[in-house]
């Protein structure tokens, strides 16, 4: 295996090594949060967390646990850097994005530390590519201060039911309004576009609704441009949890199964649109 011909000295210099037999287990989940160019990587003993932010109002996180990787070595408590996500995705899919059964790209991702580029060794069918991507000083991700004790309303839905709604959302609407209530309409997505309004109602007893915990009626509006990219994460996921807290902040958590059936998580936090007061 070409990747293992690196010398021990080479390996020693890296403070982070993460290997995957199937690079898609990383690239697919990164695509789910790739609405912006830059991503903040934060690696710990538990695994890799990749963060993307937009306009200081939206944050998307992808979590890939350590046990997803075939090899995961980290020599410090936390390792952080920032890279251009678009470039990274292009490299991860350098052998082409098509899925041919039995053929996949193997990946070894290595990082020497502050000031060094992120090195990717990719191999498919005996061909090896080495990519070095410049890293930047990682920005501190925004802390949305979203804690479960402050959650007022929570639902867990099977993603299939939301996928249709999100793909049909009226993009002429500037906002997506989410209403959660212990009584009718229970869980409602609304848009206000040029041709009129649209409402998608999910009753609490629907068999798509796995969990329904709503304590009080809440209606919040979020910028459509911020939330629409979450459709990618929704498309990959099998379940999604929607939570709002007392401030109207939104948390969307997606349960994603990768090619090998392992579970990863993607999470979106979004601030409510300030123009509308919470009802």
């Amino acid at each position: 295996m070409p990747l293992s011909t690196q010398s021990q000295a080479d390996i020693d210099q890296y403070i982070l090594i993460a290997s995957l037999d199937n690079a898609r287990n990383l690239s697919n989940i990164l695509k789910a949060i790739s609405s912006r160019d830059h991503a903040i990587f934060n690696a710990t003993q538990n695994g890799l967390k990749v963060t993307v932010e937009d306009s200081k109002c939206l944050q998307a996180n992808a979590f890939i646990q350590a046990d997803i990787f075939q090899e995961y070595i980290i020599k410090e408590d936390t390792v952080g850097f920032q890279v251009n996500l678009t470039v990274l995705l292009d490299c991860l899919t350098i052998f082409g994005g098509s899925t041919v059964p039995g053929v996949c790209t193997a990946l070894r991702m290595c990082y020497n530390g502050y000031g060094y580029p992120l090195t990717l060794f990719l191999e498919e069918g005996g061909v090896v590519t080495v990519c070095k991507i410049n890293t930047q000083e990682p920005e501190e991700p925004i802390d949305f201060d979203f804690c479960s004790t402050n959650v007022t309303n929570k639902v867990i839905l099977q993603s299939d039911s939301l996928k249709e709604a999100f793909s049909e959302l009226d993009m002429t609407s500037e906002v997506l309004q989410i209403t959660m209530s212990p009584s009718h309409p229970y869980f409602r997505l609304s848009t206000f576009g040029n041709s009129g309004n649209a409402h998608y109602d999910y009753p609490k007893d629907s068999d798509m609704m796995e969990l329904f915990q709503c304590t009080k009626i809440q209606t919040n509006r979020y910028k459509m441009s911020l939330l629409k990219p979450s459709t990618k994460a929704l498309a990959l996921s099998c379940k999604v949890s929607v939570r709002t807290d007392s401030r109207g902040f939104l948390s969307l958590q997606y349960l994603v199964r990768n090619d090998d059936g392992q579970i990863c998580f993607v999470e979106y936090y979004c601030c409510p649109d300030e123009e509308v007061e919470e009802e």
Binding site: S161, E164, A165, E168, D170, F192, N194, S195, G196, N197, A198, H199, Y200, D201, Y202, P203, D205, S206, D207, M208
Partner: protein
């Protein structure tokens, strides 16, 4: 107004909306007394006569993804919220999910083409598959075609505005034997030119349900009507046709003169050599030809109007078209700008003898929108 469509009907309605979207930008909802129209007794006074039009771009997305809708939508309710000027489409889907769309509308008069189709001298009926197989030979960009009829054959060919274009581009002509049609009645030899693009919507709609299409028309300048009928629906597309300027000055034929006096010389030979059901030929006109719009001048709405009024007064014998002169066109022919389009969707219980059509107040004209389709908040 409240209308409920269940199960398969939703698919049909969606396809009808798609067919209409190929014809125009606006869709008129006109609740009729036939069929499932159920006036809400509480607000009957206000709502009963609400007729409205919507921008088709607003309605079309609701009926996208036909196969998905077929699987997940159980019921569609269409109602009108009169005080808020909203048409409400509510889809009851599986798993208890409800999708509600409130679309702004504009109130308007009923739109009805004043066109007594039963007075047309020429009637054809064919399976939609046959017509689909015919129009597939014409490029999608082809705007107008000419449909000619005589005792011996029916021809559909590319319409060229000027002689020069005929030579440069590819022209298509198909000839069909009367036997190809389920019903064939020729009262008057004629050739009518109309917009094919607008017809394609109806044809694909009919083809998806395997319904026959009937076509009624007269001479050049009179509208041509295409009809699709079923137990539960009825669709009419009425298209204007280009006039033949030689119309006015011809003498009236003797009554009962059904067959054309001038039979194209080559027709018999052509019919006998037809091998398959139809032939596609590249054909540059020579010799005598059936009256076609090659001699037509700029489309004249007033002339068209007079023709329409003539149609309504039975007993008057319509002037027979003469053969078009062989001289080249000197004035450019503009595509028909005066359009009548209507696709009626309603339940039919008896044969349609719509004597009411002549009484309707509005003669369909080019849509007289004052502003764009409803953009309500």
């Amino acid at each position: 107004m409240k209308c409920v469509i269940e199960g398969n009907g939703i698919k049909v309605f969606g396809k009808a909306v798609h067919a209409l979207s190929r014809i125009g930008d606006e869709i008129w909802l006109d609740p009729l007394e036939k069929g499932q129209y159920v006036p809400d007794p509480d607000i009957q006074k206000d709502c009963e006569a609400v007729k409205c039009k919507l921008n088709i771009k607003c309605v079309l997305p609701l009926f996208r993804c036909a196969s998905w809708r077929e699987r997940s939508v159980d019921k569609c309710e269409i109602s009108i919220n009169f005080p808020n000027s909203r048409v409400i489409f509510q889809f009851h889907c599986r798993h208890g999910i409800t999708k509600t769309y409130n679309l702004g509308y504009q109130e308007c008069e009923a739109l009805q083409a004043v066109f007594p189709a039963h007075l047309c001298p020429n009637v054809l009926m064919a399976q939609s598959k046959l017509l689909g197989d015919i129009v597939v030979h014409f490029p999608v960009s082809q705007e107008e075609v000419t449909l000619s009829i005589s005792c011996f054959k029916v021809t559909l060919k590319t319409f060229c505005e000027e002689e020069n274009n005929c030579i440069k581009g590819m022209n298509t002509e198909l000839m069909l034997h009367p036997d190809e049609f389920d019903y064939f009645e020729v009262g008057e030899d004629s050739a009518v030119t109309f917009c094919l693009k607008e017809l394609r919507g109806l044809l694909s709609f009919a083809e998806s349900y395997g319904l026959p299409v009937s076509c009624q028309f007269g001479v050049a300048g009179q509208p041509v009507s295409f009809t699709v009928k079923d137990m539960t629906l009825e669709a009419h597309v009425v298209l204007s046709t280009l006039t033949d300027p030689n119309h006015e000055s011809t003498s009236q034929p003797a009554p009962g003169d059904d067959c054309p006096v001038n039979i194209p010389k080559t027709s018999t030979a052509e019919v006998s050599t037809c091998e398959g059901p139809m032939e596609t030929e590249v054909y540059v006109a020579d010799g005598e030809q059936v009256a076609s719009s090659q001699g037509s001048e700029v489309f004249n709405p007033n002339l068209h109007m007079r023709k329409m009024i003539q149609l309504q007064t039975p007993g008057k014998i319509l002037p027979k078209p003469r053969l078009a002169p062989e001289s080249a066109l000197t004035t450019p022919v503009t595509p028909a700008t005066f359009k009548i389009r209507s696709l009626l969707f309603g339940a039919v219980y008896t044969d349609v003898v719509d004597s009411k059509t002549a009484d309707l107040p509005s003669l369909a004209c080019a849509s007289d929108t004052e502003e764009d389709g409803g953009t309500e908040e």
